[in-house]
Symmetry: C6
Subunit: 310 residues, 6 copies
Amino acid sequence: MADLLPEIDVVADDPFNSDPNDPEMMSDAVRDRKNNGETLPIAKAKVIMVDLPLGATEDRVCGTIDIEKALSEGVKAFEPGLLAKANRGILYVDEVNLLDDHLVDVLLDSAASGWNTVEREGISIRHPARFVLVGSGNPEEGELRPQLLDRFGMSVEVRTVKDPEQRVEVVEQRSAFDANPQEFMVKCQAEQDALQARLVAAQQLLPSVALDYDTRVQISQVCSELDIDGLRGDLVANRAAKALAAYDGRTEVSVEDLAQVIGLCLRHRLRKDPLETVDSGLKVQKTFCRVFGLPEPESEKAMAIANGRR
Amino acid sequence: MADLLPEIDVVADDPFNSDPNDPEMMSDAVRDRKNNGETLPIAKAKVIMVDLPLGATEDRVCGTIDIEKALSEGVKAFEPGLLAKANRGILYVDEVNLLDDHLVDVLLDSAASGWNTVEREGISIRHPARFVLVGSGNPEEGELRPQLLDRFGMSVEVRTVKDPEQRVEVVEQRSAFDANPQEFMVKCQAEQDALQARLVAAQQLLPSVALDYDTRVQISQVCSELDIDGLRGDLVANRAAKALAAYDGRTEVSVEDLAQVIGLCLRHRLRKDPLETVDSGLKVQKTFCRVFGLPEPESEKAMAIANGRR
Amino acid sequence: MADLLPEIDVVADDPFNSDPNDPEMMSDAVRDRKNNGETLPIAKAKVIMVDLPLGATEDRVCGTIDIEKALSEGVKAFEPGLLAKANRGILYVDEVNLLDDHLVDVLLDSAASGWNTVEREGISIRHPARFVLVGSGNPEEGELRPQLLDRFGMSVEVRTVKDPEQRVEVVEQRSAFDANPQEFMVKCQAEQDALQARLVAAQQLLPSVALDYDTRVQISQVCSELDIDGLRGDLVANRAAKALAAYDGRTEVSVEDLAQVIGLCLRHRLRKDPLETVDSGLKVQKTFCRVFGLPEPESEKAMAIANGRR
Amino acid sequence: MADLLPEIDVVADDPFNSDPNDPEMMSDAVRDRKNNGETLPIAKAKVIMVDLPLGATEDRVCGTIDIEKALSEGVKAFEPGLLAKANRGILYVDEVNLLDDHLVDVLLDSAASGWNTVEREGISIRHPARFVLVGSGNPEEGELRPQLLDRFGMSVEVRTVKDPEQRVEVVEQRSAFDANPQEFMVKCQAEQDALQARLVAAQQLLPSVALDYDTRVQISQVCSELDIDGLRGDLVANRAAKALAAYDGRTEVSVEDLAQVIGLCLRHRLRKDPLETVDSGLKVQKTFCRVFGLPEPESEKAMAIANGRR
Amino acid sequence: MADLLPEIDVVADDPFNSDPNDPEMMSDAVRDRKNNGETLPIAKAKVIMVDLPLGATEDRVCGTIDIEKALSEGVKAFEPGLLAKANRGILYVDEVNLLDDHLVDVLLDSAASGWNTVEREGISIRHPARFVLVGSGNPEEGELRPQLLDRFGMSVEVRTVKDPEQRVEVVEQRSAFDANPQEFMVKCQAEQDALQARLVAAQQLLPSVALDYDTRVQISQVCSELDIDGLRGDLVANRAAKALAAYDGRTEVSVEDLAQVIGLCLRHRLRKDPLETVDSGLKVQKTFCRVFGLPEPESEKAMAIANGRR
Amino acid sequence: MADLLPEIDVVADDPFNSDPNDPEMMSDAVRDRKNNGETLPIAKAKVIMVDLPLGATEDRVCGTIDIEKALSEGVKAFEPGLLAKANRGILYVDEVNLLDDHLVDVLLDSAASGWNTVEREGISIRHPARFVLVGSGNPEEGELRPQLLDRFGMSVEVRTVKDPEQRVEVVEQRSAFDANPQEFMVKCQAEQDALQARLVAAQQLLPSVALDYDTRVQISQVCSELDIDGLRGDLVANRAAKALAAYDGRTEVSVEDLAQVIGLCLRHRLRKDPLETVDSGLKVQKTFCRVFGLPEPESEKAMAIANGRR
């Protein structure tokens, strides 16, 4: 996934991927250097995707302070962790619903403040830790804690394809990759390049995409009728619809854009009602159609749309 | 929130924000200096608002003693923690109902005595730790321990706005802030300045605000009829009503002032009765109206008042 | 509370408040000095009241041994804890029913033996730890362990006053104290002094107070009929009645004295019977009246007496 | 209790109270010295009674090895614990039913082998740890683990006296002791001396006390009919009856002796049957009477006997 | 089992069994040497089978970093663990269903990434850890965690033989082995050699084995109808059928090959349905027969096939 | 028990009781010496019986590595534990059903592999740990974990004798032992010597004892009909019957031999069926009689046989 994103400017010799232009995205050391009038060396870097393994220790995630070094040499000897590496990148957690409570607290603190603070015996270090959090997991094996669930902007439900021919196709691709990974990569390169170009174009178009006031009110009405807590759902739906329009090269958000993203943005924010038999994606879609004056979709198709298939 | 408060006088080089005039609000070191006839350097400081993260260690909250340094150099080497920083300021705990029991004990000890005591291997340090405790949390995820709940003077129940247009407005402000935080801040400055001026005026007016004896008896009667344990409820209701009058520039507390604050001061102090179907805010309001000889409010409106909306 | 008590003689430079006359109340070091013929320096000291915070560590309560110092300098380097400080004084535990089991064990061991023993890696230190244990707590939040409950001589049930005017009075005193603590203290001084004088007189009168044999048998009969385990209840009732007579300046214990204290001494010693609907204080009072041939009190008034209001 | 026992011979300078004559009761160091032909210095010592506090650490009970000393000086630097002190004496555990599982394991290991073994980082020390285990506790607060219960030879059920005059007498003695402990002790001395003389005489007579075969078979029949596991009950009943005869200055065990002790020896060994309404002491007594051809006692009196009152 | 496999080429002096030709299967140190143009020494090594004991510590499994050495000598002092030893070999876990959760996490992380990463105080080491995971256990004593279960390609249900004569035969072989292990081994050698030769031939034939498109679609249809999550089942069934054909010396996969392996590949992937009375192996077999147009087997025989008996 | 066994040859100065002839029973150090052509010093040693106390630490059981010594002197400084001491001997665990899970894992690992492996910070030591595991315990206090239960070849149910005269006899022997242990030992010596001679003779006769094929099939049929998991039951029954024949001086196993041992070997291997009312020993005996064509025994007598009384 990270391969598709364009490169970003970083301070060349900084372990936190500090942004050379935005002081809010600089580590303390870099900001000091800039304030001292130093010209920061700039490098291009790929947007990094960092894996957070389930068994990771807090030290590995947050980084550690080498007290002995700090005391003997008088410098703040910080060994950066995964959160430093993930700054301005993507932090991926597989089986996120099985993540240790302690690490969830760490993620919540970082996500809330955008900073990672490590303290040990009175020495304190902080660095920016802003990342896109991507998680996957099997909900049957345990639920996400509500605070963490709320931090996810969008959610997709992935099911295994049922169609045998499609399965064979996937198996073939996997077998091809296993047999000769490098050849397989070369074959995909053109497709990947086209996709990246499209994403870059969309990024540049995004500031020009408009979403008119009435539509925004309708979005908020959908959220309100679904009794969604907080306004993060409204915010994310606005942004996602704009992003989709930009991806399609348009500067106007259409109702179809919204229909595509509304379920992804809202379905995981519905309160669980144990007596409810309707799928939560379908419920979002129905409310959406009613508010926007669209005919109510048949369940089957609505489900497909709710899960983001075009 | 802390931006609205006027600056205070602190001892310039003291990590505990000691008050240069009140010996009860000085750290031991500062008091010793004063007693030795030293003229304390005074500085203006903003009232600080300190975040207490859920994952904080006790060391980070209370501070630590560097034993080695203490032993080798013969000085009390104390590294102040969040409680020192919060002295004479605001201590904010998000998700306060999820706070670790051990930290709750620490908060209760500090709140009861106004001092934070740290002991390690026979060395003991204490410093003043008086702070306004502000907490937020989702009561559905766990209840506050009764002792801690009792320490909160007032409580507000915050619900997400339902009205779509209001939601859009909030989303717009947030988007504006995200797009350009500094520009957004500048725009708000005038409004903030006016509000701060009003607060300063209210602070100066407060000692002149009167609350007549009969009203005070009526307040205590409300508390007594609601079977509220202890007298903290009475005290807080008196103070809150006076503060509201001062905020409005008046020196007399009106019954309307009381109607505004009585629910905020008392509703979280009611005993939970599992068979009770009446909202506790409404119950406070009804008792208030009966004692003060007011017509009993309709539920809907009373709820609004109980939650402090004017 | 400690302000009311007269000063006591202590060995001047001893951290355990050793009694200069009673070898049983001396620390080992002081007794050694006395046995070596040294004249002990005597000082007057206020009876100290020590707070035992819920979050206290065992080290802070019992004191610690500095092993390194002990090994390197060959001396027993003991850093006294709260139990040392509380010797011959009052140890106060707020929320005593929430006290950690481990600390309860420590209290029980000290209360049983009158000594605190600290051991670390083969080095052992002990010092006298005799204190009046005062605890408070909300029984709804958890019960005391039976062994600890049994250590309390008397118990009072404190309820919040219901009468609004009394509430206002308390609130006013509190507000006055908050506004100007020192002025408030000065105002109370005369009352405090009178009370202290009366207590000193009572202490001197106490050895002369008589309690005749028949009354003592009747007290024991009350305890026996109430099926109270052990004889601590008998002992405490005898002592409390004598103390009350002395406080009133009499040398004869009256039946009224006993009626005053019997409930405070016995009510917490009754076995809990889940089917019992009678309040345990009332039950004590009724048995008392029957044994002493008094008319059985009406419930309301008996309750008031049972709770020690005159 | 320990005051009543005659003094014993110990090796003068040995922390384990080694017996100068019995190699099985010597510490390794003492045995080595004896084997090297050294003449052991002998001292008289009182039989010691050691308190095992509930909160004791395993180090304090078993003793500790000072590894650093052991490594640096090449000697086994063992700091003896309570088990060493209790060797050849009495180990008393108050609230024995609340004793930590870990300490119970330690007691069971020592009681089974008669030795205490301490190991730390490959260094191993053992010393004899034979003691009379005396425990007390309130069975309502928790039961003893079956293995530990089985280790107690006899058990007495202690109830508070009901008779008011007896209560007053105890209270008086306690008050006398509290008022002037030393005077109280002097008064008791004669009585104590007479009791000790009688015990010494009984100890000397004990080897001559006979218990005929038929009676022993009857004892075992009682045990067998009561379905008592193991033979410890038989053994203890034999010994206790002989001891009682010796205490009375007789060399023949009478049926009355057995009636006195049988309940104390067996009642705690009965299996708990939740449907059983008969008191276990009474059940022992009834079986005893049936086997020995005595008239079945009335319940009341049997209970008294079962509890060892003469 | 490992005795049957042919030897592999490894870098001679490398604790991770690095493949001298495949950079993806090299440790970092070896790859560095290769990149520096060094000619790697090659050795033949048996495919190793590593036992992972239940009681293993994480250090023993993952290896440890000697921090002191690392700091003092400036080299990465890594002591490889069982995962290093198992690289390119077989990792066997007996009682795999009782494996500690922490070790399961370690296995899952290694199995997912093919690398083992060890971090300690800021020093990080990784090495390839690709192994065939073989587990055994009694499902009655606990189930495998779903994620780990999913990592097993195939599963066999082993039951104790019922036939007495077969039991005697096994007992005889075991007794023969116990009596003289070396003689027993010599006797088996010829049989083992023949089997190894056949396996080597099958390994060479495997790339030439074909599986036509229609059959692959049918396999995926079986998986789809059985509602199997993910595509690992399809992949494994394809590979297992090809391997069986190669083992039989054929280059075409027959329906019989598939019938043999389909149960082993799929039965542990079925969702547990508590109301289902049909054995899961039989269910796989029935679906297989229906999709492939074969007559449905009788239960008894199908079970035998499902468990892989020919 | 260990007194009855003949002495064995061990390497004289080896803490692991290495067998001087069998390389599989040698510690690594001894094997190295042998491989270097050294002549191993041989000593006779009694078969040792090692007690494993419940409270033993893992260090005490497995032994420890002295890291400092290992690092500073460059040698593997291993301090052997109980498993080393028990090699080629008997390991006895009292209350085996209360053994800590962690120690059970250690026993299982040793019992499965015959080796004890100790690892600490990258240093690894292993030594042979083959021992006869003897356990005792009261099944009412907790069950054995199935894996450990399976490791016990035979099990006996011991009940307290009911017959009073037998009880007296045991009590007498115990009293005699307590009164004078050494005299008691001397008296038993002749009996012990005769028993040992018989055991030595049986050991020499054992290889000649035959068990014909048909009988072995019948044994396996009994196991199969009883639905016993695995073949350990078959193996143990074969061995036990042969051992009993050898003990009786015969070289042919009789059906009576089998009747004696079959229950001891199999009864603890039956699956627990909560609805089963038949004693498991009786069930084994009944199946045995049916398979071997014997008349089914009456319950009472069968029980006696099942428990191994002759």
